[in-house]
C-alpha cells in the first residue's frame, strides 16, 4: 500500500511538472499574440485593428489579451517570459532599463525601411522628431537604437461639462442671473456689466475668463439634479484629492510653459544637459545643473530656473487653494474613479483631465446623459498678483493697475522660430499656444525573445497606415497615434461625426506647440531624486502638494513651498550626483 501511495505521489508531481511546463508553449503557426493595458483607451481599438489585420493577412491569427495589471507584470514578461507575447502595449514602462539589458527587440530596421503599408519610411512618418527620438536609447558605445513605438500622443487640459454650462447660461438669463451680472463678480474682465453675456458652450480662453466661469458657477448655486433641490450643489471643480491630485499638473505644466517658453521643459527635464535640438546631451549627463530647481531664477529666454513653475503653482493656488468653496466637498478622499463619477454625473463643472477621460467615463456619461468637452488650458494674459503671489487681483479691482507681479504668457515671436499659426489672440496680444503631451510613457514593445517578432513588426507597420491610425482614433474617442496622419478626418473618413470631445482634441493638437516631460536623463531615471515615481516627475521627489495646499493654504504659499523645496534639493544634490558618476 505504501509503495502504491509513493508511486501515485511521484506520478502526480511529475504530471504537475509537465502540465506547468506545457503552459503557454502551444501556439499555432503565424499566431500573433498581443497583450495590452486595459484602461482608459478601452478594448475595441485593438479588436478592430486585429480583425482588420487578419482580413488583410490570410493565414495570420491575432490574439489580443487585455490586462489591467500589466504595469506591474510587464517587467516579468520581458525578462522571464518573452515567448508569451509578441507585442506589448503598456504605459509607465521603464523600457530603457530593459533595452540596454537586451530584453527588447530592436526596431532599427523598421524605422529605417519603407513601410509597405504607407509607401514611406517608417521613421519619417512619425508625429515629430521629438516623438521619434523618444523611442531611441543608446547602447554601450553611444549608438542610438530604436526600441519602441510610442503608443499615443496625449492631450491634456481641463474637462468641462456642457450640460452644466447650459444650465449656467439659463441661470444668467434669469432674474437672479441678471442681477448677478450687474455686480463686480459678474463682469470681472470688463469695466461695465454685460447682461447679455453667456458662455454658449465656448470654453474660457484666458485665466481671468476661467475665474469668471468659476464665479458664475458658484453664484448660480445650481442643484445637481434640477428636480431635487437636496441633491447637492454643482461646484466649479472636482478632482481626486485622494490619490490622483497629480492631474492638476496638466494645466499647471501648460501655465509653466506658457510663462517660460516651450524650450524650458527640455532644459529642465534634461538638467540643462541639452543639445540645440532639445535632446539630451549624452556626453554631458554627469554634470546636471541644480539651478533647474531654483525658484528665484526665471527660465525665460536662454536662462535656467524654476521661477515660472512657481508662478504656475501660484496661478493654481489662487484659483483652487484660495477658493475652497469652488471645489466639491470631500475632495480629499475622492479616488480617481469617484472623481470621474462625480464629474460624469454633473456634480461639478470642470475637472483637470487628459484625453482618456471621455472614453473611460463612457458608460457613466451615457447613463447620466451628461455631455463633456475638453478645453485648452486658458492662457495667462496679464494676470496680476501681490508680491508674495498669495493675492490675485481681478481686472476690475482697484489694485489691478498697481500690482507688483504681472504674469504674462510668452508672446509669439516669429524671429524666435515660434510655430507660426499656433497662436491665440487675447486682448489684442498674440500668444504662443502650448499643450502638454500626456501619456508620453505609453509604449508598444516587442520582447527580444518574441516568437513572432517579425509579425509584430508588421502589425506596427500596419497601424501606421492612415485608415488604421484613424480607426484607432475613432475607437478611442479622439486619442491620437504618434504618426503623421490626418487625425482630424478620422470620423469623416468613415462617414461618422466626431464628438465635441474628439473635435477639441484635434483642435488643440493642430494649433498648439506640443511639449512633454519625458526624459532619459540618468539623474532622473537612476537616482533617488525621483522619489517614488515610476518613471519621471517634475515635482522633486515626486511629492505633490495640491491637497495639502487646498486644506491648509497658509502653510503652502508659493514662496514658502518652493523655498523649502529648493533647500531640500540643495541638501541632497551631491548625493544624487554621486549616484550617476
Amino acid at each position: 500500500m505504501r509503495k502504491v501511495l509513493c508511486v501515485l505521489t511521484a506520478a502526480l508531481l511529475a504530471a504537475a511538472a509537465v502540465l506547468f511546463a506545457a503552459c503557454g508553449s502551444s501556439r499555432g503557426e503565424n499566431e500573433l499574440r498581443i497583450v495590452y493595458y486595459s484602461g482608459g483607451y478601452g478594448e475595441s481599438w485593438i479588436q478592430s485593428l486585429a480583425d482588420k489585420y487578419m482580413e488583410e493577412n490570410e493565414g495570420v491569427t491575432v490574439i489580443a489579451n487585455p490586462d489591467t495589471q500589466l504595469i506591474d507584470s510587464v517587467g516579468t514578461l520581458l525578462e522571464n517570459r518573452p515567448e508569451d507575447f509578441d507585442l506589448i502595449f503598456c504605459h509607465d514602462v521603464a523600457w530603457e532599463s530593459y533595452a540596454n539589458r537586451g530584453y527588447i527587440y530592436r526596431l532599427d530596421d523598421m524605422y529605417s525601411s519603407v513601410n509597405p503599408y504607407t509607401g514611406e519610411v517608417y521613421g519619417e512618418n512619425m508625429w515629430s522628431d521629438d516623438v521619434a527620438a523618444s523611442a531611441q536609447y543608446p547602447d554601450a558605445d553611444g549608438n542610438m537604437h530604436y526600441y519602441k513605438v510610442p503608443w499615443t500622443v496625449g492631450t491634456a487640459g481641463i474637462a468641462y461639462n456642457l450640460i452644466v454650462m447650459d444650465r449656467v447660461d439659463q441661470w444668467l438669463a434669469s432674474a437672479d442671473g441678471q442681477a448677478y451680472l450687474a455686480t463686480g463678480n459678474g463682469h470681472i474682465t470688463t469695466e461695465n456689466a454685460d447682461l447679455a453675456r453667456r458662455w454658449n458652450r465656448t470654453a474660457p480662453v484666458s485665466y481671468y475668463e476661467l475665474i469668471q466661469y468659476c464665479y458664475d458657477v458658484a453664484a448660480a448655486n445650481l442643484p445637481v439634479d434640477a428636480s431635487d433641490p437636496t441633491s447637492g450643489t454643482i461646484t466649479p471643480f472636482t478632482w481626486s484629492g485622494g490619490g490622483e491630485q497629480w492631474q492638476w499638473d496638466y494645466p499647471l505644466f501648460d501655465w509653466w510653459i506658457q510663462l517660460a517658453g516651450p524650450d524650458t521643459m527640455n532644459t529642465f527635464k534634461n538638467f540643462n544637459d541639452v543639445l540645440e535640438n532639445g535632446q539630451l546631451d549624452w556626453n554631458d549627463y554627469k554634470n546636471p545643473d541644480v539651478n533647474v530647481y531654483n525658484p528665484n531664477d526665471p527660465a525665460k529666454g536662454d536662462n535656467v530656473g524654476w521661477q515660472e513653475f512657481k508662478e504656475a503653482y501660484a496661478l493654481w493656488y489662487n484659483l483652487v487653494a484660495q477658493n475652497s468653496a469652488w471645489t466639491i466637498s470631500g475632495v480629499a478622499d475622492l479616488s480617481k474613479g469617484q472623481n470621474e463619477s462625480a464629474f460624469a454625473n454633473g456634480r461639478a463643472a470642470m475637472t483637470p483631465a487628459a484625453n482618456w477621460v471621455a472614453k473611460e467615463s463612457e458608460s457613466m456619461l451615457a447613463a447620466s446623459g451628461q455631455e463633456i468637452d475638453i478645453m485648452a488650458t486658458p492662457v495667462v494674459s496679464d494676470v496680476k498678483m501681490s508680491s508674495d503671489y498669495t493675492t490675485l487681483y481681478l481686472p476690475n479691482s482697484a489694485e489691478y493697475d498697481t500690482a507688483s507681479v504681472t504674469l504674462d504668457a510668452v508672446r509669439y515671436n516669429e524671429a524666435n522660430g515660434d510655430d507660426a499659426g499656433k497662436t491665440i489672440e487675447i486682448n489684442g496680444k498674440t500668444y504662443n499656444r502650448v499643450s502638454f503631451t500626456s501619456s508620453f510613457g505609453d509604449s508598444a514593445l516587442i520582447p527580444a525573445g518574441a516568437v513572432e517578432a517579425e509579425l509584430a513588426v508588421d502589425f506596427l507597420r500596419f497601424m501606421q497606415r492612415e485608415d488604421n491610425a484613424q480607426l484607432f482614433t475613432r475607437e478611442t474617442n479622439g486619442i491620437l497615434l504618434p504618426f503623421d496622419y490626418d487625425y482630424s478626418a478620422s470620423y469623416s473618413a468613415a462617414g461618422e461625426t466626431a464628438s465635441a470631445w474628439a473635435e477639441s482634441i484635434f483642435e488643440i493638437n493642430e494649433n498648439s506647440t506640443k511639449f512633454n516631460n519625458y526624459t532619459q536623463h540618468p539623474m532622473m531615471r537612476n537616482t533617488a531624486l525621483r522619489g517614488t515615481a515610476r518613471m519621471t516627475t517634475v515635482w522633486y521627489n515626486n511629492l505633490y502638494y495640491y491637497i495639502n495646499a487646498y486644506q491648509q493654504p497658509g502653510s503652502y504659499e508659493p514662496n514658502d513651498l518652493f523655498g523649502s523645496i529648493w533647500g531640500d534639493v540643495n541638501e541632497s544634490w551631491a548625493t544624487y550626483r554621486n549616484q550617476i558618476q
Partner: protein, 347 residues
C-alpha cells in the same frame, strides 16, 4: 513484474514505522538462509534485502513529500536572499546595463536618510510601526487573549471577530477600513452629516493619515497572535490558578504575576517578532492612501515600489540590507535581555 507485498511484509513494515520491534519470526523461519538471503516463500522471514526494500520505499516517499517545500525554500528564501545581498553591492550603469561592485548604494542611503526629509521620515515611520507593534498591538493582544481564555461572556464570538482580520486579505480589509471612514459614504461621514459638521480628511496625507494607518494596523494586528497566546495561556495548570484564587489573588494580579511569567517564552518570541514591524508594514499605508505620501512611507513600501524597476533594484536591496544590519543586533539584544526576566518554568 515486482511481487506485491504479502500480508506479513506489510505488518512488518508497519511495525517498523511505529518503532516497534519486529514480530518474532513465524514458525519455520529458523530455516532462513544463514547469509540472510531472500526468505523462502511462506511465513515472513526477516532478511537484509526485505529490510532495505522497505526502507528504500519509505525514504523515497519522504523524499518526494519533502522535495517540493525544500525546493521552494531554496528558491524563494535562500536564493532570493543571497541574490539580494549580492545585488546590494552592485552598481547599475544605465547606459551599458552592466553592474559593477560598489559600496555606493549604502553611501547613498546613509546620506539620504540623514539629509532628505522624505527618506528620513521613511525610517522614522518604520521605527514607529515597530514601536506600535511592540507596545500597543502586542500588549492589547495579550490582554485580550487572556480575557478570552477566561471564558468571559461572548468569548467564542469575540475570538472569531478578533481573528478574522488575520485571515481576510489585506486589500479587502484596507478597502473596508478606508471606505468606512471616507467622508462621503462612510460611517463617520454619515455621523458628521447628522451633526452638520465636516468630517476630517483621513487619508489625504498629514499627521491624521499617519495615525489612521496606525489605527488600521492595530485593528488587523489584534488577532494575529491570538492562537499562539491562547495556546500558551491554556497550558498554565489549572491547579496553579485555583490555588491562586483560593489565596485571594485578583484578576490583574493573576495576569501579571502568574500567567505572564508562566507564558514567558511564548511572549518573548512573539514580542521579538512584533519588532519586525520595521520591515513588515508595506501595503497598509499604500492601501490607505491610494498613493504614496511621505507621512506614511515605510522602508518596506519603498522597497516594494522600486524592486520592480531595473536600475533601482540594487539600490533598494542595499536599503534592505542596511536596515537588517541595523535592526538585527537590536533584536538579538532585546531577546537576550527578555530571556533574563523570568526563568523558564517546566510544567
Amino acid at each position: 513484474m515486482e511481487k506485491s507485498m504479502d500480508e506479513n511484509e506489510v505488518f512488518g513494515a508497519a511495525e517498523n514505522a511505529a518503532g516497534l520491534p519486529a514480530s518474532a519470526p513465524a514458525e519455520g523461519a529458523a530455516d532462513a538462509a544463514p547469509d540472510g538471503g531472500a526468505a523462502a516463500a511462506g511465513p515472513f522471514k526477516p532478511g537484509r534485502s526485505n529490510f532495505s526494500r522497505r526502507k528504500r520505499g519509505e525514504y523515497l516517499f519522504v523524499a518526494c513529500m519533502l522535495a517540493y517545500p525544500l525546493i521552494q525554500f531554496i528558491i524563494m528564501w535562500a536564493f532570493v536572499n543571497i541574490d539580494s545581498v549580492i545585488m546590494s553591492f552592485q552598481r547599475y550603469d544605465s547606459i551599458t546595463g552592466e553592474t559593477t561592485f560598489s559600496f555606493n548604494n549604502f553611501e547613498t542611503w546613509v546620506q539620504l536618510i540623514g539629509s532628505n526629509e522624505m527618506y528620513g521620515t521613511m525610517v522614522v515611520n518604520s521605527l514607529l510601526h515597530s514601536v506600535v507593534g511592540m507596545f500597543v498591538i502586542f500588549p492589547l493582544c495579550l490582554i485580550m487573549t487572556y480575557f478570552l481564555c477566561r471564558k468571559v461572556p461572548g468569548s467564542g464570538f469575540f475570538r472569531i471577530v478578533f481573528y478574522l482580520p488575520s485571515i481576510i486579505p489585506l486589500v479587502v480589509l484596507g478597502l473596508a477600513f478606508r471606505e468606512g471612514l471616507m467622508n462621503s459614504n462612510g460611517i463617520v461621514g454619515k455621523l458628521c452629516d447628522l451633526f452638520g459638521t465636516e468630517p476630517p480628511a483621513f487619508f489625504s496625507g498629514g499627521s491624521i493619515t499617519r495615525v489612521m494607518v496606525y489605527v488600521f494596523c492595530v485593528w488587523i494586528g489584534l488577532g494575529g497572535n491570538t492562537l499562539l497566546l491562547s495556546g500558551a495561556i491554556k497550558r498554565v495548570p489549572t491547579e496553579v490558578l485555583e490555588a491562586a484564587h483560593l489565596d485571594g489573588v485578583k484578576t490583574w494580579r493573576e495576569f501579571i504575576q502568574i500567567v505572564i511569567p508562566m507564558c514567558w517564552p511564548t511572549i518573548v518570541t512573539l514580542f521579538v517578532m512584533s519588532m519586525m514591524g520595521v520591515f513588515s508594514v508595506v501595503f497598509q499605508p499604500y492601501f490607505m492612501t491610494s498613493s504614496v505620501v511621505p507621512e506614511t512611507l515605510t522602508i518596506g513600501l519603498q522597497i516594494f515600489l522600486n524592486a520592480g524597476a531595473p536600475g533601482q533594484q540594487e539600490s533598494v536591496a542595499a536599503l534592505g540590507l542596511l536596515a537588517t544590519v541595523c535592526v538585527a543586533p537590536v533584536v538579538l539584544v532585546v531577546r537576550w535581555l527578555l530571556d533574563r526576566f523570568f526563568r523558564d518554568v517546566e510544567y
